[in-house]
């Protein structure tokens, strides 16, 4: 339900990155979203065009990587893929598991364009 405001936060972060690297435009934005993050990727994708309009990301493609839910069992130590409402171990059935991934809501990377139309170099986190 709050995907529009999450999208605004995303664009604000992207704008800051573009300024930081002296970019004139953003080509693409890649985010990672897990099913347990509380944001819906489709709603995010739909609110995106409204939010990017008139910003440095005006023409940027939004790529949403959907991460799987993975848990590690505290009893048998094995990892399993899980679903949002069944985070139990698929090997031994125990519910004492730790989430390894699936609740992410991350800005992963941004592809930028510089003035002379060359891509700015990769910057590592």
């Amino acid at each position: 339900m709050h995907e529009l405001s999450v999208c605004q936060a995303l664009i604000a972060q992207v704008e800051a990155v573009a300024v930081q690297h002296g970019a004139t435009a953003v080509r693409s934005i890649r985010i990672c979203v897990g099913p347990l993050s509380g944001v819906d990727p489709d709603l995010l994708q739909r609110s995106y065009p409204l939010v990017r309009a008139g910003t440095v990301a005006d023409a940027a493609v939004l790529v949403i990587e959907r991460l799987p839910i993975r848990v590690r069992c505290e009893r048998c130590g094995l990892e399993s893929e899980a679903t949002p409402n069944r985070l139990i171990c698929t090997h031994c059935g125990d519910w004492h598991t730790r989430l390894l991934s699936g609740d992410e809501m991350l800005l992963a990377s941004v592809e930028l364009e510089a003035n002379d139309n060359r891509h700015v170099p990769t910057v590592w986190a």
């Binding site: 339900m1 604000a12 890649r30 990587e65 519910w95 989430l99 990769t122 986190a125």
Partner: protein
């Protein structure tokens, strides 16, 4: 911050950014800026600041979440009555509109600040910050934050509180934890409320609700209670006393607590950002 210390990289997603990993290059091989920062970063920072406020005053902050009408305000009224001679309580109320809930709490003689969010379906750390500067935190033991009635969005926003309590009333169906896993996973405690109505509702099985919570790998305890008949209320106030005691002990050792978010999630989800906070208004408690 996160983009330099790498604290967003966890065992679960580290492979994505390892050299040559999926995210180091765009599909066409062009260079990209790798960021890996929670989209909710800004809210996180504010939440951390709020937690410092609470901690400086030795206050335990408890966030109450549920669908609309599950009995959050009724629970607060009953709790205030039963702790009256023992603990000092203050309340931050969140609703889309009206001052009703803050008035109900003030009628019990307790300071309350009402946040009306307009159209925002959850509280965020900025709203709570503004509100808590209008609460007399000195001499307060527990601040309850009654979130907007909504089983979806409030779960994503760290407010700077210490504990999440999720209410599920027996009229809502015992499969709610399975239907709203993000919300129930965030609970440090699940309260099954309006338990006095169980007699007339033959299809709500508290054990089924608790089993659905375990399927979310949650160890959160569950308490069955009724704000109407006061059944189970003592178990709830005991939990509050224990949490307050534990929090004070942590503070003595310069630690604090964060609400239930599993360890790896905690690395990334210090909080969230909402840009809608410019639209809300809040009113202060009458002196």
């Amino acid at each position: 911050m996160c983009d330099t210390c790498g604290c967003n990289i966890t065992p679960g997603n580290g492979h994505l950014v390892a050299s040559g990993g999926k995210l180091s290059r765009t599909a066409d091989g062009k260079a990209a800026v790798t960021i890996l920062r929670s989209l909710l970063d800004e809210n996180d920072l504010q939440a951390r600041h709020n937690r410092e406020h609470f901690d400086q005053h030795g206050v335990l902050a408890v966030n109450l979440m549920s669908s609309p009408g599950s009995g959050k305000t009724a629970l607060l009224e009953a709790t205030i009555d039963s702790l009256r001679n023992e603990l000092r309580v203050a309340v931050i109320e969140g609703d889309l509109e009206t001052e009703n809930d803050a008035q109900r709490v003030r009628a019990k003689g307790v300071p309350a600040v009402q946040i009306t969010t307009g159209s925002a379906c959850h509280l965020d750390a900025h709203m709570v910050h503004d509100a808590l500067h209008h609460l007399p935190l000195d001499g307060i033991d527990i601040v309850f934050i009654e979130n907007v009635g909504n089983l979806v969005c409030p779960a994503s926003f760290d407010l700077g509180h210490h504990r999440n309590v999720t209410l599920l009333s027996v009229t809502e169906g015992d499969d709610k934890p399975a239907k709203y896993p993000v919300m129930f996973r965030a609970a440090d405690l699940m309260l099954l409320t309006k338990i006095d109505l169980l007699a007339v509702l033959d299809d709500f099985d508290p054990q089924r609700a608790e089993a659905a919570l375990r399927n979310l790998a949650s160890e959160a305890p569950s308490i069955r209670l009724s704000a109407r008949s006061h059944m189970g209320l003592e178990t709830w106030t005991t939990w509050l006393r224990q949490e307050l005691h534990a929090q004070r002990q942590r503070l003595a050792q310069h630690n604090s607590a964060r609400p239930a978010i599993q360890p790896d999630g905690r690395l990334m989800h210090h909080g969230t950002t909402s840009l809608v906070h410019s639209k809300y208004v809040f009113s202060r408690a009458k002196p």
